[in-house]
Symmetry: C2
Subunit: 378 residues, 2 copies
């Protein structure tokens, strides 16, 4: 019996498995892209939220990271990360936390609102980096890239503050997730970098050190060289998932996580296998495939990769703890209650956030911030 076989036998409940070699390959590939392109790699850690997986990045020469909350910044600061950008609009109610962190590490914040910059200027106690968030087309947050009046005003307040250090312009290209082809992803990425470079040209004279920082996984997964930006912040690539596969950003072989779910019931009369694994494990994020909502996809577990069942067995419904797989009857006959089945998640960030810890496919435990019961020490 291999280590993996012995470990699999011990699984009792829905368990988030990480294939370490796929995950490390994903990290190496993205690190190499940044290095080859001569730009800074500041990966977004909101996907894995794991100090253990963070060390795999450090082994690839990564020392600057992105997170999406101050809580996450505190967690990683407590695990020896000293250069952290919080890529989420500043929450002024956490000003004390900001001051605590900014004293210990190089903290970079994100703002697009005059009230936020003014309040920070008045209440910060330690020098803090600040990015102006720019909306290059995703329309979630950020100053519209053409609104240079607003950018001028924000830069003036930053300049006068004496405590905020302007780092540059940051954008999240979330609109790429609505793209319907690889070409469209590449086109949207170019549009975003062009818009950011319009700002760089305009402001570089006054701020010769300003950088352009851009984030999203699909566009960096589809290019051999990154041009015209200074820093890249992809996150999801560490695991990938079905959403990225559907976008064309990865293949099934690149997906590093799957949820091992105990089979609890089967209904061949309606082509359904029921597993212990529901909305509190996968999240209710879904994709539309062939006009049907899907929440996951059943795979076989091989030594080196997950292989989708043939014909495809999608997770078509979720209750709080129940997952319902639509499955061919011959496949159903191969499973008994008590067996395990492996399911790829639609959105690995949300699944990892719910599961709160990982096991590698050889049974090694990896932490996740949500499962860390000890307070974070700085």
């Amino acid at each position: 019996m291999t280590d993996t076989e012995a470990f699999v036998r011990s699984i009792q409940r829905p368990t988030l498995l990480v294939n370490e070699s796929i995950c490390r390959n994903n990290i190496e590939r993205m690190s190499a892209l940044a290095q080859r392109s001569g730009i800074t790699f500041r990966p977004h850690f909101k996907t894995h939220q794991s100090a253990s997986i963070g060390t795999w990045f450090r082994e690839n020469g990564v020392f600057s990271i992105t997170v999406s909350s101050l809580t996450m910044a505190r967690y990683f600061a407590g695990h020896h990360w000293k250069d952290i950008t919080v890529a989420f609009p500043v929450n002024l109610r956490e000003i004390n936390e900001i001051n605590t962190l900014a004293e210990k590490i190089q903290l970079n914040l994100l703002a697009d609102h005059p009230v936020v910059i003014k309040t920070l200027a008045g209440q910060l106690k330690h020098e803090t980096g600040i990015f102006i968030e720019v909306d290059t087309g995703s329309h979630r947050t950020g100053v519209n890239w053409e609104n240079t009046d607003m950018i001028d005003a924000l830069l003036e307040t930053i300049g006068k503050s004496g405590i905020l250090r302007f780092r540059g312009f940051l954008s999240h290209t979330g609109n790429i997730y609505s793209a319907s082809s690889k070409n469209e992803i590449i086109r949207l990425h170019r549009t975003a970098t062009d818009r950011m470079n319009f700002l760089k040209e305009r402001y570089l004279g006054s701020f010769p050190d300003l950088i352009l920082s851009l984030g999203d996984t699909p566009s960096f997964s589809l290019t051999d060289t990154v041009r015209n930006i200074d820093e890249m912040r992809p996150g999801n690539f560490v695991f990938y998932d079905l959403m990225q596969q559907q976008l064309g950003a990865c293949s099934y072989e690149d997906i590093a996580v799957a949820v091992a779910c105990p089979v609890v019931a089967s209904y061949p009369e309606r082509n359904e296998l029921v597993v212990y694994g529901g909305a509190i494990h996968f999240s209710k994020e879904h994709l539309i495939q062939e006009k049907q909502k899907i929440y996951g996809l059943a795979v076989r577990f091989t030594e080196n990769k997950w292989v989708p069942l043939e014909p495809a067995a999608p997770l078509t419904a979720l209750s709080q703890e129940h997952g319902i797989l639509h499955m061919d009857n011959r496949q159903i006959a191969a499973f008994q209650p008590g067996d395990l089945i492996y399911i790829l998640p639609v959105h690995s960030c949300l699944t990892a956030n719910l599961m709160g810890k990982y096991l590698t496919t050889t049974g090694k435990e990896l932490d996740h911030m949500n499962g860390s019961y000890e307070p974070f020490h700085l």
Copy 2:
């Protein structure tokens, strides 16, 4: 400054608030319904997953409960609950956990599969109650109510086991959640009770103590007296939510929870206010209202209830940490970054599961199983 005002000022991050008086009223109303109907009230605790809120049930004379996992059973057993039904198909991989619990408390399990019953018969060490789950129309799990051949076979194995004690027939009327009117809910509930009574008549001679146990919140919220069943297992009513409100099972005034979210950005040019409060706080459960997906609804916080903003300000998009409220420009002008806004969740079970703890509107902390860092002691 009232206690509530002082407490609200201290909120830094997305916080799940419970209005204790609304919640206690919901519990009292449902307890009174069971008492008036002369049936057992075995509330489902998967919604709140809270030992603290559990005590409010105990004050209403509730001593038997329902949960949806063995983990939850262990948690509540560790908080002095001695009679617990796990209303989820038995997961045979947890047989050791089942034996540990069955030694300490009155544990009732749920099965519909011959392999499960046979395996339990062979591996249980202590007498355990068993319900046969019946599918009365929801087609999630359970033996079809007409499949008496299967029920006969299951009962025979149960009878021979010497360790499984047959408790009766249990059904979850999940199909009620697809109903389009109150009348349809009542009609589906009647159909389910009729189908269960067909089984009761057939098997009562052999099992004079068998009970009929039925669960769901909407049908018990819309009736003055429950007829023709022996036990009711509603769960969501403890908090209610927008999904229940849309079904007609409650009014906004009955909703006991809201998420307090810091405002972080505003875009009046596209009628959007952005809050710290995303998919990892609300879950991605949505409703369709006026052809639009909604993930929550902004409310005002008054002493005794939440009142929806006028015009309605729905949460129309969620990222991992961002929530986007669609909002009238005059309303947007009333909020600055750093203010708090209150948002009713679409599905309170999933929101509570993600948040992992509660604060009452006067600042008292209430536990949730997911935030319990100590191991559960039995």
